[in-house]
Symmetry: C2
Subunit: 142 residues, 2 copies
DNA sequence: CATAAAATGATAATAATAATCATTCTCAAG
DNA sequence: CTTGAGAATGATTATTATTATCATTTTATG
């Protein structure tokens, strides 16, 4: 466990925004100005293999990381790209149901809700300023 | 509607494998050997904007396209990357449930099952040969 | 047929991530 | 403590998927 890996882990554990690798990089660089982007990628990968953080495969082009290990679903704002946690229980029954209906051996599922976040709901005219990712066209939830 | 757009659409409509842009390109090139990859990307984008095909945002790095317009979920084999359709009814109740639980205005969700396809179930020793995409590590269904 | 708008093919550009590699760090054994 | 092997780092380059540019060609329409 190197200093840089420790700090990447710490920064992720106190960040609830499901940051992308480059956001983690920016935050970590405040404490380690000479760290390289490659080191951040490498360690995010290693930490998620070790089960200390989670790598999220949500929609959008960039991977996101979560220092919270509990299982939970996410909502994405289709306007500003913000990701929030959802406190809905895990739907294990879905996997069992599908197991009986198809010839795959089901081991799990990914569920991501799409919606409009409170901030974007207010400023419907112009999207919320701290936009982080590409918006989703509402007709394309697939 | 140009000849190339027509053929891209046709090839997609008779392909049930949820192909990526480059797979569509390879197939279309059998009929139009001089078509460029950029044209394929451009037309897949246009056709999905027009609602003639669907652009799928599944896990993995590449986008996939579907000539079948009906709404349905998908299963992905975590070993070989194959995508199959799932004949489970759309769970609109989930969106309503979440609407009451959180402050987002929910407009839909994305659900993708992860499992082991019949072919990979048989050849458990070595993954199925017609592998198309990177496998998913079973510990990382997020 | 003319012609304006749209699309094409070729190519370059971008964005996110992964790989390479010489140098530096970490940590357990002495 | 020192040390030495293996792992990790920073700098850099490479890869992969996708998008943008642009001169030329095609399409649809009057």
């Amino acid at each position: 466990m190197t200093r840089q890996r420790q700090i990447i882990l710490e920064e992720l554990q106190k960040d609830y925004s499901h940051p992308t690798a480059s956001v983690v990089y920016l935050k970590v660089r405040r404490r380690l100005p000479h760290i390289s982007l490659g080191t951040v990628y490498r360690n995010l990968e290693i930490l998620s293999e070790q089960g200390l953080i989670k790598k999220l495969e949500l929609s959008g082009t960039q991977k996101r990381f979560d220092g919270t290990l509990s299982e939970h679903y996410h909502v994405r704002c289709f306007k500003c790209g913000r990701i929030s946690d959802v406190s809905m229980e895990t739907l294990t029954a879905l996997d069992e149901k599908l197991s009986e209906m198809c010839d795959y051996e089901i081991i799990g599922h990914r569920l991501e809700f799409i919606g409009l976040c409170p901030k974007c709901k207010k400023n419907k005219k112009h999207a919320h300023k701290t936009k982080t990712t590409t918006p989703i066209s509402p007709g394309n939830i697939s």
